[in-house]
C-alpha cells in the first residue's frame, strides 16, 4: 500500500467515524472546549427545570389547573383560564395559519417560476419575515384589529391573528422543505398519466408530504403557545375569571399569566408562577414529542 493510499484511508476513517488518534495537549484542550460548549446549553436547561420545579413543588396540586387566578387567596390561585386560553389560541392560530401557509408553499414549490422577479421577492421577503421580532407582529395585529373595528380588546381573534402572522413564515418554510423532498419521479409519473398540475399536487405530492408538514406545523404551534410578547401588545389581560366562549371572548394565556405573576412580589404568587412554568414546559415538550413521533413514524425515506 502506497503512502498516498494509507493516508487517504486514515483521513477518510477519521473524518467518517469522528475518532482521531491525535493526543497532543492543544488538541485535547480544544476538544474539551467544544464539549463544554455543546453541553453548556443542556446544563442550563437542567438547572432551569430543576430550580423551577423545586420552587414550584408546593403547588403541584389540582387547584393549579382547575381554579381561576385569585388575588385574595394566593395559596390556591390557579391557571385554568390561562391553560384554556392558550389551547383556544392554538386552535385558532392553526385555523388561520395552516391553510394559508400550505397554499403559499404549494404555489412557490409547484407552480411558481423561480426566475421571475416577483417570486424571488416573495422568497427574500419570507426569509426576512421569519426573523422579524415577535413584538412587531403584535403591533401589526393591533392595526389589523383596528381596521376590523375592534381596537385593542384582548379577545381570542386578536391574539390568534398575532400568533398566526408570527408562525406563518415558519409554516411556509417547513412545508416547502417537505414538498421539495418528494421525488420528482412521482410528479412526472402522475403528469405522464394525464393528470393536471393541480391534480398531481393534490393527489400525489401533498399526501406524500403530510408527515413533514405536520411536524413543521406542530413545531410552529409549540413556538406560538409559549409566546407572550405579541399578546401583551394586542392587549390580552394578565388574568380573567371565566372560560372562553367564542372568538369574541376575552381571554388570557398561560405565558401572559406567568408574566403578570412574575412581577408580583408575594412569595405565593412566585411559587404558583414556577408551577405554571412547569405546566407550560410540559405542554410544549408534549407538542415537540408529538412532532418527533410523527416524523419518525410516518416520514418516508425515498
Amino acid at each position: 500500500m502506497s503512502v498516498a493510499t494509507s493516508t487517504a484511508r486514515e483521513v477518510t476513517r477519521t473524518v467518517s467515524t469522528g475518532r482521531s488518534k491525535d493526543k497532543s495537549l492543544g488538541s485535547l484542550v480544544f476538544l474539551g472546549a467544544l464539549w463544554f460548549s455543546l453541553f453548556f446549553g443542556v446544563m442550563v436547561l437542567l438547572v432551569l427545570i430543576v430550580d423551577t420545579a423545586i420552587e414550584g413543588s408546593p403547588r403541584f396540586d389540582s387547584a393549579l389547573i382547575t381554579e381561576y387566578g385569585s388575588r385574595v387567596r394566593p395559596e390556591s390561585t390557579g391557571f385554568r383560564a390561562g391553560i384554556l386560553g392558550s389551547l383556544w389560541l392554538m386552535v385558532f392560530t392553526a385555523l388561520f395559519a395552516v391553510p394559508l401557509g400550505i397554499a403559499a408553499a404549494l404555489y412557490l414549490e409547484e407552480f411558481a417560476d423561480g426566475d421571475r422577479w416577483w417570486n424571488r421577492l416573495i422568497e427574500l421577503n419570507l426569509q426576512n419575515l421569519a426573523a422579524v421580532p415577535a413584538i412587531v407582529y403584535g403591533l401589526l395585529a393591533v392595526a389589523v384589529m383596528a381596521l376590523m373595528g375592534f381596537g385593542r380588546s384582548g379577545i381570542v381573534l386578536g391574539g390568534a391573528i398575532a400568533l398566526a402572522l408570527l408562525i406563518l413564515p415558519v409554516i411556509i418554510i417547513t412545508t416547502r422543505e417537505a414538498v421539495r423532498s418528494v421525488p420528482q419521479e412521482i410528479r412526472q409519473g402522475s403528469l405522464a398519466l394525464g393528470a393536471t398540475v393541480w391534480q398531481t399536487t393534490w393527489r400525489q405530492t401533498l399526501p406524500s408530504a403530510v408527515p413533514g408538514i405536520a411536524t413543521g406545523t406542530i413545531l410552529g404551534l409549540s413556538r406560538a403557545i409559549g409566546e407572550a410578547a405579541p399578546l401583551i401588545v394586542v392587549g390580552l389581560a394578565g388574568s380573567v375569571r371565566f372560560d372562553p366562549t367564542g372568538v369574541m371572548s376575552e381571554i388570557t394565556a398561560l405565558p401572559m399569566m406567568i408574566y403578570s405573576l412574575t412581577s408580583n412580589s408575594q412569595e405565593e404568587f412566585r411559587t404558583a408562577a414556577s408551577a405554571a412554568i412547569i405546566v407550560l414546559l410540559i405542554m410544549i415538550l408534549g407538542l415537540n414529542a408529538l412532532a418527533i413521533y410523527i416524523r419518525n413514524k410516518f416520514q418516508k425515506t425515498w
Binding site: F111, A131, I135
Partner: protein
C-alpha cells in the same frame, strides 16, 4: 409519431381515425382558479411586510407631529429613544459574547468531530434550548441568574433587575440559532479540503480552525448576524430582567430598558388610542423593525454568498 408515419410503408399511423385532441389546449377553469388562490396566498406574505410598514407609519407620523425629531433621537428626556437603543445594544453585546463562542464551539463539534449517529442525538438536544418560551427564560433570570449566580456565587453588586443577567440569559437563548446555521456552513465545506489539510500533516484541530472555519466564514458570519437579530428582537427576557429604567450607561450591572422592553411595558399599561405615548409605541416599533430588517438583509446576503461558493 412522425417517425413512424414517415418511415413505414403503407397507410400512416392512425389513418382513418379522428385526430387526437391536444389535452393541453383544453380549458380548465378550476385549475386557473386554484392557481390564482395559491398565488394570492403566497403574495400575502409580501402584503404582511407592506402591512407592517403601513400599520406603523400612521401613528409614527402622528407622533412626530407632536414630538420634534430631535426630542426622539436624544439621549435625555421623556421621549428620548437613544437610551433604549443603548440598552438594546448592551444586552445584545452580552448575549453575543455568550452565544457566539458557545454556539460556534457546538457547531464545530457537531460538524467536525461527532459521528453521524452522535450528531443525530446531539443536534436536537441543542435545539431544545430554542423551544423554551422566553417568558420562562425571563423568570429564570430573575429567580436564579441574578440572586444565585451573580449575587451569591460571583458576589457582584447588582439589583433585582440588571442588564447583565438579561444579556447572559438572552445569550443562552441565542446559542441554538448560532449553532444551527454555523453547523450548516461548516458541513457545506467540501470533504476534499479536509483531506488535503490532513494529508499535509495537520491534525483535526488545525484542520478545523485553519481550513474549515475560514472556508465557512461567510456562513458563520450569517449565523452571528441572525443571532444578533434574535437578540435585538427578543422581548420577554429583557422586559422582566433588564429593568424599566431608561438609562444610557456603559455599566452592565445597572438597570437598562431596551426598545422591546419599552414596547412591552408601555403596551401593558393604559394608553388611549391616539395618545402620544400610544404613538411613541409605534415609533419605537418602527425603529426596531427597520433595525432588524437591515440586520436580516445582511444575514441573507451572507448566506447567499456561502451557498454560491460551493
Amino acid at each position: 409519431m412522425s417517425t413512424i408515419s414517415s418511415t413505414g410503408a403503407g397507410p400512416p399511423f392512425g389513418a382513418g381515425l379522428p385526430a387526437a385532441p391536444d389535452l393541453r389546449k383544453k380549458a380548465r377553469p378550476l385549475e386557473t382558479v386554484i392557481r390564482t388562490i395559491l398565488m394570492v396566498s403566497a403574495f400575502l406574505s409580501v402584503a404582511i411586510t407592506v402591512g407592517i410598514i403601513f400599520a406603523l407609519i400612521r401613528p409614527v407620523i402622528d407622533f412626530f407631529a407632536e414630538v420634534p425629531f430631535g426630542d426622539f433621537f436624544a439621549t435625555e428626556g421623556t421621549h428620548a429613544v437613544l437610551p433604549l437603543v443603548g440598552g438594546t445594544l448592551m444586552t445584545t453585546v452580552i448575549a453575543l459574547l455568550v452565544a457566539v463562542p458557545l454556539g460556534l464551539g457546538a457547531a464545530m463539534y457537531l460538524s467536525e468531530y461527532a459521528s453521524r449517529r452522535a450528531r443525530r442525538v446531539l443536534k436536537p438536544t441543542v435545539e431544545l434550548l430554542a423551544g423554551v418560551p422566553s417568558v420562562v427564560y425571563g423568570f429564570f433570570a430573575l429567580s436564579f441568574v441574578t440572586p444565585t449566580l451573580l449575587q451569591d456565587i460571583l458576589s457582584l453588586e447588582v439589583g433585582f433587575t440588571n442588564a447583565l443577567s438579561a444579556g447572559l440569559v438572552l445569550g443562552v437563548m441565542v446559542i441554538p440559532t448560532v449553532a444551527s446555521l454555523s453547523e450548516d456552513a461548516l458541513t457545506a465545506v467540501p470533504q476534499s479540503m479536509r483531506q488535503g489539510s490532513m494529508a499535509m500533516g495537520a491534525n483535526r484541530m488545525q484542520t478545523t480552525l485553519r481550513v474549515v472555519l475560514p472556508a465557512a466564514l461567510s456562513g458563520v458570519a450569517a449565523a452571528v448576524v441572525l443571532g444578533m437579530s434574535r437578540a435585538v428582537g427578543e422581548t420577554m427576557i429583557v422586559t422582566l430582567a433588564s429593568g424599566n429604567l431608561k438609562n444610557l450607561s456603559a455599566d452592565p450591572r445597572e438597570d437598562m430598558q431596551t426598545m422591546t422592553g419599552f414596547i412591552a411595558t408601555t403596551a401593558g399599561g393604559e394608553n388611549a388610542v391616539g395618545s402620544t405615548s400610544y404613538n411613541e409605541l409605534f415609533a419605537v416599533g418602527m425603529l426596531l423593525f427597520l433595525l432588524t430588517l437591515v440586520i436580516n438583509v445582511i444575514s441573507i446576503a451572507l448566506v447567499r454568498r456561502f451557498r454560491q461558493v460551493y
